[in-house]
């Protein structure tokens, strides 16, 4: 039995179905990310767990107890918001201690917990400040400490980093993950930033239009996307139209160039199917297992710091590849014809399109 169980959750507003048949089991201490485009229902699911929305149907169990009928203030769930939502009239220490003082814990106990929490978020000296005297990143740390101080069963974070600068965002997400690990708290983290989800999650729930597309580890989500949506939503992707020429041998034609995959294809000869290739799976030089090639003409070269992004055109189809920037690299000219190498097992089959 999982620690947090969501079973057949549905949510409708008037005519609109926002969440449909959402099933998820989260283990104790797990860090789960909800990833998906805007409006796909991430926040709605989170708010149903917290108790701010009532599911139209379905069950939510925490530690074996059905919580659907409990009010938000009876669920013992920590919540962190995109807008921090610190109480402006309370100091940092009072903010962190708010949940404890509501629960009528003794003053000395509150003081001690607050000190521990301040140390945990590395703001030990700022307990007496007011929220408006803190930077955004600091405010969000305080919000995190405030949510954790009540020792919640589950921690819910709704895009907690979206309002912060890129640099702080990266630092804080690592801190959140480290704190979560050290406390072993079951956590759901909502984001629409795939890099964020990939970098800190135990598992990712990829959502689309109110349903789950795939639940898996970041590596599996990236390398073995199970649906076309996941493949195209997570990471950059080259999608190529290919015609099956010999299904048993795994032979394909792309713009009069032949590919041979190391697996038979489940489509009859002559069907057009879609293939996907990650930009980083493509290389301009042959490597050990790069058994396939495609030829294309360079359209554009972008210098992105550690990476050169080259856009090619093979016939009518676009191909983007990433090349590590090395000093000995031969400069690439626009208009030049190049051979692109890749391994057949790196090709993702998206099916007939």
């Amino acid at each position: 039995m999982a620690f947090l169980e969501l079973e057949h959750l549905h949510k409708h507003y008037a005519t609109q179905t926002v969440v449909q048949d959402f099933n998820l089991n989260v283990e104790q201490g797990e860090f789960i990310s909800f990833l998906g485009p805007s409006g796909c229902g991430k926040t709605t699911v989170l708010r149903m767990i917290a108790g701010f929305e009532t599911p139209s149907a379905g069950q939510i169990r925490i530690d074996g107890h059905d919580v659907v009928r409990l009010k938000p203030n009876q669920r013992n769930i920590g919540m962190v918001f995109q807008s921090y939502a610190l109480f402006p009239n309370l100091t940092v220490a009072q903010n962190i201690g708010f949940g404890l003082s509501v629960a009528r814990q003794p003053k000395t106990q509150i003081k001690q917990t607050v000190q521990e929490m301040l140390a945990l978020i590395k703001l030990a000296d700022l307990g007496e400040r007011y929220p408006f005297q803190l930077s955004g990143g600091q405010q969000q740390r305080v919000a995190l400490a405030r949510a954790l101080a009540i020792q919640p069963k589950v921690l819910l974070l709704d895009e907690p980093l979206s309002a912060l600068d890129a640099k702080i965002r990266v630092a804080l997400r690592e801190d959140i993950r480290a704190i979560q690990r050290s406390l072993g708290i079951t956590t759901i983290f909502v984001t629409h930033d795939q890099e964020e989800a990939l970098s800190i999650s135990d598992r990712i729930v990829v959502m689309n239009q109110g349903h789950i597309e795939q639940v898996d580890t970041p590596l599996a989500i990236y390398n073995q996307p199970s649906t076309r949506f996941v493949a195209s939503f997570v990471g950059a992707l080259n999608i190529l139209n290919a015609t099956v020429s010999a299904p048993e041998q795994g032979m394909l034609q792309i713009e009069n160039q032949t590919l041979q995959l190391q697996q038979p294809l489940p489509h009859p000869m002559g069907t057009t199917i879609q293939l996907a290739l990650r930009p980083e799976a493509l290389s301009l030089t042959p490597k050990e297992n790069t058994d396939q090639t495609l030829v294309g003409q360079v359209q554009q070269v972008q210098f992105l710091g550690s990476v050169l992004r080259v856009q090619l055109k093979a016939g009518a189809q676009n191909l983007v590849l990433d090349q590590f920037n090395q000093p000995q690299l031969i400069p690439i000219q626009v208009g030049q014809t190049l051979k692109v190498y890749f391994a057949s097992n790196q090709v993702l089959l998206l099916g007939a399109g």
Binding site: F52, L86, A163
Partner: protein, 266 residues
């Protein structure tokens, strides 16, 4: 050149305003100092302040003002909070209702009260002194509603009510705890400025107190004005000074608010 002319104009307007508003006041003040023949003195003020009637009525009105403020806050803060949180589309209607006391004269309220709560009615509130006081506080609260509601509603605007509510609830707080410990302190400045306005209204109020026959400051001033010469002038100056003090205090708390302004996120 252009700025020159506009400057001259604004000074001119200010001067006219000072003459228009200030001159009568100055005249009243000057008159209030002439109680003793031949010299200027504060004799009229001494007489007024020493009058036990003055002390009693002023104290009574002060008490009424405080009760009105408490009642207004208890009524308005949760209402304004709730409307903003759950019934945002009701806001124009609620605002309209709170503005009604500015349109409907107080005398209508009193006659309504007297008709509804007279001694032969089902709820004879006008029967005893304390219940009449209660009725009067209700009336004063109605009169103060436009100012108090606006002040509190404006104060709430700078808060992200919905998210703060959810944050507090997820921490185990009830709605009451939230309003008492988070919402109220955050609109305290708004409440304070609303309270000073309420105070100014209640202290000078005449119609309700006179018709409900309660010993308030308003009827006392009227009585003095009808029967004496110099004391009413002194009273008018005192009333003015009090009102201005309230206005000054409102300015002061508002400035402090700006100084302490909480830059809300988003």
């Amino acid at each position: 050149m252009n700025t020159m002319t506009s400057r001259i104009w604004s000074w001119l307007v200010l001067l006219v305003a000072i003459i228009y508003f200030g001159l009568p006041l100055l005249g009243t003040f000057e008159f209030s100092l002439r109680m003793l023949r031949g010299t200027y003195s504060f004799e009229a003020y001494r007489v007024v302040l020493a009058d036990p009637q003055f002390q009693a009525t002023f104290g009574y009105s002060l008490l009424m003002a405080c009760a009105t403020i408490v009642m207004g806050v208890v009524l308005v803060v949760p209402t304004a909070y709730w409307v903003r949180l759950k019934l945002p589309h009701w806001r124009p209607i609620i605002e309209f209702i709170t503005l009604l006391p500015l349109v409907i004269p107080a005398i209508v309220i009193v006659f309504g009260y007297i008709r509804l709560y007279n001694t032969s009615s089902w709820l004879p509130l006008t029967g005893t002194a304390w219940s009449t006081d209660l009725l009067m506080v209700c009336g004063y609260t109605t009169l103060a509603l436009p100012y108090l509601y606006r002040a509190v509603d404006t104060g709430l605007r700078s808060l992200d009510i919905a998210t703060l509510t959810e944050a507090a609830e997820s921490l185990g707080a009830s709605k009451f705890t939230l309003i008492w410990r988070i919402i109220l302190p955050n609109v305290s400045v708004a409440i304070l400025s609303g309270a000073f306005l309420t105070f100014a209204i209640v202290i000078g109020e005449f119609v309700l107190a006179a018709l409900l026959n309660r010993p308030a400051f308003g009827p006392y001033m009227q009585l003095m004005g009808a029967n004496r010469a110099y004391e009413p002038a002194a009273l008018a100056v005192i009333a003015f000074a009090l009102t201005w003090l309230c206005m000054g205090l409102i300015q002061l708390v508002n400035r402090r608010q700006r100084h302490l302004a909480v830059p809300q996120h988003r």
